[in-house]
């Protein structure tokens, strides 16, 4: 199972990386906290650590640490615009339930 992103998400990540001027790709992860158990991490990646799993989607590199990988298997990252608001969405098949706003979740 891979971790992927949609074309529009990849376009946005690539554009942001260009503006930021450094970084090799995107780091996804989870950590424990938040009102429903787990929370996503979505960060620029400046380096690949030896233990990281690596994926590539529409030309953008995605790195995930091994402890997070089980929670994220099969996730597709999407970019979405809702009115004037815009941002990234995790389409994660592992999620059983999440808090009202979706910032934290359980598997």
């Amino acid at each position: 199972m891979a971790i992927t992103m949609t074309e529009s998400a990849a376009r946005h990540v690539a554009a942001n990386l260009r503006k930021r001027g450094k970084g090799i790709g995107l780091r996804l992860g989870v950590r424990t906290s938040g009102c429903s158990g787990l929370a996503y991490k979505l960060e620029y990646a400046d380096e690949v650590r030896p233990e990281d799993a690596q994926f590539e989607s529409h030309g953008v590199r995605i790195v995930v640490d091994p402890k997070s990988l089980p929670y994220l298997e099969g996730t597709q990252l999407d970019f979405s615009r809702e009115g004037l608001n815009e941002g990234f969405k995790f389409n994660n098949p592992n999620v059983r339930d999440s808090c009202g706003c979706g910032e934290s979740f359980n598997v």
């Binding site: 946005h12 906290s33 938040g34 620029y44 400046d46 809702e82 004037l84 815009e86 910032e103």
Partner: protein, 621 residues
């Protein structure tokens, strides 16, 4: 489903912890709101993708319109459509009545300027609040909830009254201001962080209505503002007016109605913007009575028309450099801010002045809002592990009135803020029980030439001889540039203080002019100060001699008394005039004449103190 933003490595926010922070550039002509999204500062656009909100408010029949909707009615509904309200912030009617071309119906009241509209009389604060409300609504729609913090920028030259007015407008609009930030400093943040630049930089900000020049030093991410200068009544608007004046002269236009004047001004502005890219621009206006104006403005003509305006921007530049004790060759880069810096003649003049092409890689309209957004993002706590520090300066010296109508400066101009400065003062008369403190802002030596900020009184000073009391006056300027002053009598601890609630426009001091005047009148001011100081000394001498005479006249022989009376009369006569040297000589003569008298009084008090005491009581043990 929540929408996520990309964070810097290891800085993913906790769930629900991401704080919504924005930077707001509340401009004279256009306003913007920006935020940090995916780690990059971006300007928030409306649903039509437009980043700017024209700083125009129209009080319509049914609703209040802001921005492009209001601007569209500027020509046909001039009285109820308010533009450039920022120029009126913290000002009284007396400040704008002279020579400013305005189509509004001003109403005066309590020193605050008001404009009559169909929704009632509106202050510039209320007009600005409408613009801020629009920006707030856009930001909330964009960020998905209520704002946690906003940084609003103001020109470096804004005085305390104008800064307070800006804060009031934000409060009225429900914008949670965490910091007011000088516009050039915000621009430096946008450039400094994005480009990791080090060295000494100049920020040249020619906006719609104000001109600021700032000299900044950037070292390893630490900003220090070395000097600021500018002209709070010079901006892109003046270039529009230059075109209007030219069109009137060219076609011998009769006096125009308010509607036609607005229409001509709008076309003039379009022509100006076209000339940035083209060598010539048409100026075509259809007036209400059917008359039509058709002219072509070439870039050369425009350059000639505005030559004086361009030259006017270079005067504050050399002053700021002088204040920073630098020359143009010390400046490593020049940052351009404000839409008016797109004009080729400005870019050429700046390049010639500093001997290098200015930096323009960020949009000059957006750079201030972007910097403010970065600062806001940091202040609300979205970034940590970040140690850059921001140093800002106060634009004009702060001080208090002393005897003789002189200003004693306590916090000098260009001090970095926040700053606390204290100075000790004393009483002028024997038994003086109260002291009036008059807080002033400005560079001139005389009270009448500076701007009055506040007055308060310190009461309950215990009776002491003149000069014995120690009254410490402290000035505290916070990070927003707002001032509080306190006075404390050191022996008893009685204290009085005031937070400067600036008297909006009650005095007519206009900040740029004040600064220029202080340079122009430096010699007169120095002379006025020495005269006033001599007067105070003479007055003190007269009072002391009179009270001594009243107490101990019996000690004097008739001819001694005569000499003192004569010298005293001479001092009093000279006090009436303006001849400082003669007054000084008369004071010396009185000193000489009363020397013997003073010695006799001293001998007698010593004799009284010693009388009836045994010598061994004074033994040094």
């Amino acid at each position: 489903m929540a929408l996520f933003q990309i964070s810097e490595p290891d800085q993913s926010p906790l769930p629900h912890a991401k704080r919504r922070a924005v930077g707001i550039d509340l401009g004279t002509t256009n306003s913007l709101v920006a935020t940090v999204r995916d780690g990059v500062a971006v300007v928030l656009c409306d649903d039509a993708g437009r980043p700017l909100v024209p700083s125009v408010v129209r009080y319509g029949e049914h609703a209040t319109e802001v921005g492009y909707d209001a601007l569209a009615h500027a020509a046909d509904d001039p009285h109820d459509t308010i533009a450039s309200a920022k120029r009126l912030m913290g000002r009284g009617l007396a400040d704008v009545a002279s020579g400013q071309r305005r189509a509004y119906r001003f109403v005066d009241g309590e020193g605050v300027i008001r404009m009559a509209t169909r929704s009632g009389a509106k202050t510039p604060i209320e007009v600005s609040a409408e613009i801020l409300k629009t920006l707030r609504a856009r930001a909330e729609a964009s960020l998905g909830g209520a704002l946690d913090g906003a940084v609003v920028t103001v020109p470096a030259y804004f005085d305390d009254a104008q800064r307070q007015a800006t804060k009031d407008a934000a409060t009225l609009a429900g914008v949670p201001v965490v910091r007011l930030l000088n516009e050039p400093t915000a621009a430096a943040i946008a450039y400094g962080l994005d480009n990791a630049a080090e060295g000494t930089y100049a920020v040249f900000d020619l906006g719609g209505g104000t001109f600021d020049i700032s000299i900044l030093r950037l070292t390893r991410g630490v900003f220090e503002v070395l000097a600021t200068n500018g002209d709070s009544a010079l901006g892109g608007d003046d270039f529009d007016h230059a075109i209007v004046d030219w069109a009137r002269d060219e076609s011998r236009l009769p006096a125009l109605s308010a509607v036609d004047a607005r229409r001509l001004l709008a076309r003039a502005r379009e022509a100006k913007e076209l000339l940035t890219q083209h060598d010539a621009a048409p100026l075509i206006v259809s007036f209400a009575d059917g008359a039509r104006l058709e002219l072509t403005l070439s870039r050369e003509t425009f350059g000639r028309l505005t030559h004086a305006l361009v030259a006017k921007t270079l005067v504050p530049v050399s002053r700021a450099l002088r204040d920073a004790k630098l020359t143009a060759s010390d400046i490593k880069g020049v940052v351009l801010v404000g839409g008016a810096t797109r004009m080729p003649q400005i870019r050429h003049a700046v390049a010639a002045c500093f001997g290098q092409a200015p930096l323009t890689n960020l949009d000059p309209d957006e750079v201030v809002a972007l910097g403010a957004a970065i600062q806001a993002n940091k202040l609300v706590g979205n970034r940590d592990g970040d140690d850059w520090l921001l140093l800002d300066v106060i634009p004009l010296s702060l001080g208090i009135e002393t005897m003789g109508g002189l200003v004693e400066k306590i916090v000098p101009r260009n001090s970095t803020i926040p700053v606390v400065r204290a100075q000790d003062f004393t009483t002028f008369k024997d038994g003086q029980a109260a002291m009036a403190l008059h807080v002033l802002q400005g560079e001139r030596e005389k009270v009448s030439d500076c701007r009055s900020l506040a007055r308060f009184e310190l009461r309950g000073i215990p009776p002491m001889t003149a000069g014995a009391a120690r009254i410490r006056v402290s000035f505290d300027v916070d990070a927003d540039g707002l001032l509080s002053v306190s006075a404390r009598e050191q022996t008893t601890g009685v204290e009085a203080s005031i937070a400067v609630k600036p008297s909006y426009g009650l005095t007519d001091a206009e900040i740029a002019r004040m600064l220029q005047d202080s340079f122009a009148h430096a010699t007169d001011d120095a002379a006025a100060r020495t005269l006033a100081e001599t007067r105070v000394e003479a007055q003190r001498m007269v009072t002391a001699t009179e009270s001594a005479l009243a107490a101990d006249a019996a000690l004097l022989a008739p001819q001694e008394r005569n000499a003192i009376d004569h010298a005293l009369a001479e001092v009093q006569r000279r006090l009436e005039g303006d001849d400082r040297d003669a007054l000084s000589a008369a004071v010396s003569a009185l000193n000489a004449a009363s020397e013997g008298f003073a010695a006799k009084r001293m001998d007698r008090s010593v004799a009284q103190a010693l009388a009836g005491k045994r010598v061994d009581a004074f033994d040094s043990r």
